[in-house]
Structure formats: structure tokens, C-alpha cells
Symmetry: C2
Subunit: 338 residues, 2 copies
């Protein structure tokens, strides 16, 4: 058995299936790709590939279709992430320039990625958890209401109106805020609670009740923050996929609405040395997504938030991986620059 050629056949099958969206037979294969052998030989290779579970036949007299496992081998061994075309790079520049706000940047990015890949794109908000405290602000809005603002070095700003039992005095509030900023600036947001608690303990006793209430509010900000939020675009592409995928669009939409599902999925994806990670079909633990693949990567600092694309398992992996990687890089650059 000719191993290299067998893998070449697998590649050809994947490429043709992605391109023509229908099972591919041995004859068409030799015609479209210049494999210098006859269709019978290819059939032998295909039988072997089928034995290994890399391809499957929908029915006896149909061509073959890659299995999840087949796509996996294709992605892992048969393709490298090709760079984007200049036109695509220019599109990235054109769409991402001129954004200021973090929300705006993410919004544009996700639309861009969706348009580049013709698929659903998602981007996770920068995780406050990995960020460090840059500033804390406390503003008295009313006798018993304080606006708390927590600003992280990632650029995220979280705010919340906290009601307090004690009547707030502006000067005391400024004093407390200064203590907080002084003691907590630079602390990882995850440690904010502990750091602030220590500060409270060191305060004069009569300041402690109010300070404790404020710390409680700030902890809420640090914990229930945007780290579980994401932006999405391109759901309409789901419906444009082919007919059989159309049947399964409803569960996919459900999964997309359950952002928790997606967020877990993204964060569970181990980072890959090549930069992008791919989860294919049933590798995915969620039922609604058994016919979809996810191509994702981190952006910003290492092990940071994720950005990715979701589409039918029958997708153009090389192109999608390239787009995801390129957009992630530009996004990192933009966020670092601002």
C-alpha cells in the first residue's frame, strides 16, 4: 500500500467534497487531480481509508465523504495555514481602522471575520480575570447610592450602582477611593477581593462598614464581569449552507444563544502550536453542534480571550484557519496599540 498517495487521496477527497458539496467518487478524483494512477487503484486506497474510518460512503453506490476523523487527519497533517491574500489583508485594514471604543473594535472584528469566512464568527470579550486593576472610582450619586467603576488595564470598564446603608459623605468617599487605588492598582483583578479586604482591615474602625460595602460591590464587578460575554456575527450564513445542514440549523442557533456553551467550548480548546485550534464535529461535546466545526485562537496576551469561527464540518479549513489567525493578529495589534 502506497501510504503517501493514500493521504493524497484523502486530501483530494476533502478538498473536492468541500468544493462541490457532494460525495466524491474514484473516477472524478483521478480526473480532477493529476494522480498518475487509475481509478481502480484509487478505489483500493479509498477502501483502505474507509477501513481506517477516515472516509465513509452515504450508501453503496455513492462516492465517499470525509468523516470527522478524516477531517482531523486533513487538518493535522495535510494542510498548513496559508497566508492571506493582499486583498484580504487590505480588507482587514479597511474595516478595522477608525475604531476607537473596545466595543466598536470587537464588533467590527467579528463582522470582518464573518465576512472573510462566510461563516458565523464569535469573539470573546477580553477577560477581566486576567487583567490588572488600573483605576477604581467611587461617586456618590445620592445619599445612599454610590456608583462604582472598575477600570482594567485591558481597557475594559465595569460599572455598577451600589446602594449602601450608611449615608455617604463625599470626602470620605474620596478618601476611601484613594486608599483603594493606592493599595489595589496593579493587582490582578482576581485578587482584588483579598487585596481590598486587607485594606479595609487596616482602616480606622469607623470607616470600615462603608468600605466593606464598597468592597462588596467592587468584588461583584470583578467577578460577574464581562468575562462571560461575547459578540457574534454572521448567523445568516448558517441558513445559506446546504440543505442537509439546514435541518440542523435550529440546534446550532440554540447553542449560539446559549453563550455559556460557546464560551466553555472556546475556553476548553487547548491552544495549538500552529496558532489556531480546530474542533471537528463530534469532537465537540455539545449535542447541537455535532455537525459543526469550530476554528479558534486566542488574541491579546497568551492564554487570553478567544476569537473564532463556527461552521459546518464541511468547511474550507485552510482558508478559515488563515482568516482566523490573521484577524486575531490584527486584533492583538490594535488592542496593544491603543
Amino acid at each position: 500500500m502506497n501510504e503517501p498517495r493514500k493521504l493524497e487521496v484523502l486530501r483530494a477527497i476533502v478538498e473536492d467534497y468541500v468544493h462541490f458539496r457532494e460525495p466524491v467518487g474514484s473516477k472524478a478524483l483521478v480526473e480532477r487531480h493529476g494522480l498518475g494512477v487509475s481509478s481502480a487503484t484509487i478505489r483500493n486506497d479509498m477502501a483502505a481509508l474507509e477501513d481506517e474510518g477516515l472516509i465513509a460512503a452515504p450508501h453503496t453506490s455513492a462516492g465517499r465523504v470525509p468523516t470527522d476523523k478524516g477531517y482531523r487527519v486533513f487538518v493535522d497533517h495535510l494542510t498548513s495555514v496559508r497566508p492571506l491574500s493582499p486583498a484580504e489583508k487590505q480588507a482587514i485594514h479597511a474595516l478595522l481602522d477608525g475604531a476607537d471604543d473596545l466595543d466598536d473594535v470587537l464588533e467590527r472584528t467579528v463582522r470582518l471575520l464573518s465576512q472573510l469566512t462566510n461563516q458565523v464568527a464569535v469573539v470573546q470579550y477580553p477577560q477581566l480575570g486576567r487583567a490588572r486593576v488600573r483605576h477604581i472610582e467611587a461617586v456618590a450619586l445620592a445619599p445612599h447610592e454610590v456608583l462604582l467603576v472598575l477600570i482594567a488595564d485591558t481597557g475594559t470598564v465595569e460599572q455598577r450602582v451600589q446602594s449602601v446603608v450608611e449615608e455617604v459623605d463625599r470626602d470620605r468617599l474620596v478618601y476611601l477611593r484613594d486608599r483603594f487605588v493606592e493599595g489595589a492598582a496593579g493587582t490582578p483583578v482576581t485578587h482584588l477581593d483579598a487585596t481590598l479586604s486587607a485594606i479595609v482591615d487596616a482602616l480606622p474602625p469607623h470607616d470600615q462598614p462603608l468600605a466593606a460595602e464598597l468592597v462588596r460591590g467592587l468584588s461583584v464587578l470583578a467577578a460577574s464581569s464581562r468575562e462571560d460575554r461575547m459578540v457574534m456575527a454572521g448567523t445568516a450564513y448558517l441558513a445559506r449552507s446546504t440543505s442537509d445542514f439546514l435541518q440542523s440549523i435550529s440546534p446550532v442557533l440554540e447553542a449560539l444563544e446559549e453563550q455559556v456553551v460557546l464560551l466553555r467550548l472556546l475556553s476548553e480548546m487547548a491552544s495549538d502550536p500552529r496558532g489556531v485550534t480546530v474542533t471537528i464535529g463530534r469532537e465537540n461535546p455539545y449535542d447541537g453542534l455535532v455537525e459543526t466545526s469550530v476554528v479558534a485562537t486566542g488574541y491579546g496576551r497568551t492564554d487570553g480571550p478567544k476569537i473564532g469561527v463556527l461552521g459546518p464540518t464541511r468547511m474550507d479549513y485552510p482558508a478559515t484557519m488563515a482568516a482566523v489567525r490573521a484577524v486575531a493578529r490584527y486584533l492583538s495589534k490594535i488592542l496593544a496599540g491603543s
Copy 2:
């Protein structure tokens, strides 16, 4: 011609078509509804209704289907908004209690409405434009960076990091902030720009450049605020509609992503004396939504933001209208209370 019965026939056709999702014939009509006449009579009525453009036949030997115009008559003259069942009211309570944050409230609300109606639900963010300024905060984050926060009496908080040319001095910033709050608190957000500009003019000359920059940032907050944002839920229900609607799901998803489209649609919907407004099929100016109807109403103060539901023209209008109205009322109550 018996006018009342003819309208009764129209109602029966709409109800049956919504229920059984297939064209309804004269015979089935007399069987299912106790109209005391024969099918031939109904056929005459149906011919008349067809002449008036209220119903149509997909083909010669099929039953009739309501037209957009038919639904319109049904909605306007043949149905009243029925109150919700106790079970539904309880569901509303259960889901909306325990929300604090505005984001959280809207999120829960839109999910609730979607589940109640089995359709796509949307809710518009409270418009900052109609709100009044409650507080302004300016915090120096870095030598050339100021965090601006604008808090409205609607509970919305807008923030933005503004970079400034001049190096900021903390005391000056506090001074300027105090001038702003003093002069602008209570002003409608729409007039914020003018009000602040006047304040700037009255300041000592050496404060004016920095103040002007801050005002520019605050104006951006006031203008490009959340008033063009919305929350959505239940897109998966789109795919669960019947087959013919499945063809048109892609344009609908596109329209939903183009939030501008939806927002314009919602704001163009005149408020109806009965509380809920309905836009049916082609009454809708957007191409992607020719097969969908929108049921919406305002919440909060009069002429305020909108909340609504979007689904196939073949929807259960009375139930949907009831759900939208009920949820809008609860939402208003919650927002007023907090």
C-alpha cells in the same frame, strides 16, 4: 351578502390557518366551527373575501390562506388582546425577579418574551436621548487619558476613555467636573452639548482648552450612546417554523443582524391606542422581512423604547399581542421601581 358572517369566516380561516399551518377549505371550516350554514354558502363568502383581497388560494384546488391584508383586518377588527393566563403571569414573575443590573433585566426580559411566544424577541435599550443628566464623572487615568462617565436618571451609565492633548492635573479635573455637574445636572441629555458649551465659555480662559476636549467626549457619550442598541433572543425559533418559511430564514437573519434596520422599524411603528402595534408582512418596508410580522409596543415612559416580537406572518396574533403587552408592562414596572 351576510357581512357579519363573512368576517366570521375570515376569522375562522385565520385561526385555522395559524393552527394547522395549511390552507383551509370550506368543508373543514363548517365542521370545525359551528357556523350554521353549508359549505357552499361558505364558498360564496370565501369568493367574496378573495375578491376583496383578504384571502388567496395557493392554487386552484387548495383551500384559502389569509393575505397580509386579511391578517390586517383580523388584527384590527376581529380580535381583542386577551389577558395572559395565571401560569404565564407567574412565569413572568419567576423570570424577572432577582435581576438587578439594567443589562440583566433586559436580557431576562427578552428571553422571557421569546419563550412565551416561541418567537424572536427584541428589546431596545432605554433611549438616553430622553433621559436627564444625573451625574458626570471625569477620572484621570494617565497623563493624557481621562475616563468620562455619564450617568442618566434612567439608570444607564455610559463611559468612554478620552485622550486629551493637554496633560491633566487631577485638581483641575475635579474642578471642571464640579462645574459640569453643577451646571448640567437635570438637563435633558439631548441638550447636554449646548449646556456644557455655555459652561465652558464662562470658564477662565486657561481652563477652556481642556474643558472643551472633555465636553467633546461627553457629547459623544450623549449622542452615540446605547440608544441604537438592542437585545435579541430566540433566533432558533425561526428555524423551527415550517418549511416554506425556512427558505426565507436567511434574509430574516440578515435583517436581524442589521440592527439598524430593526431599530428603524421599531421606532417607525406608531403607537396604537390598544397598546400594541402590529406590522404585517409587506407592510414592512424591508425586503428581508416580507414574510414576517412584528408585534411591538413601547415600555417605560410614553413614546419610549420599544419591545417586540418578530415571527412569520402566520402567527398567533392575539396570544403574541397579549404576551408583548404583558411583558412590556412588567418591564415598565420593574424599571420604574428600581
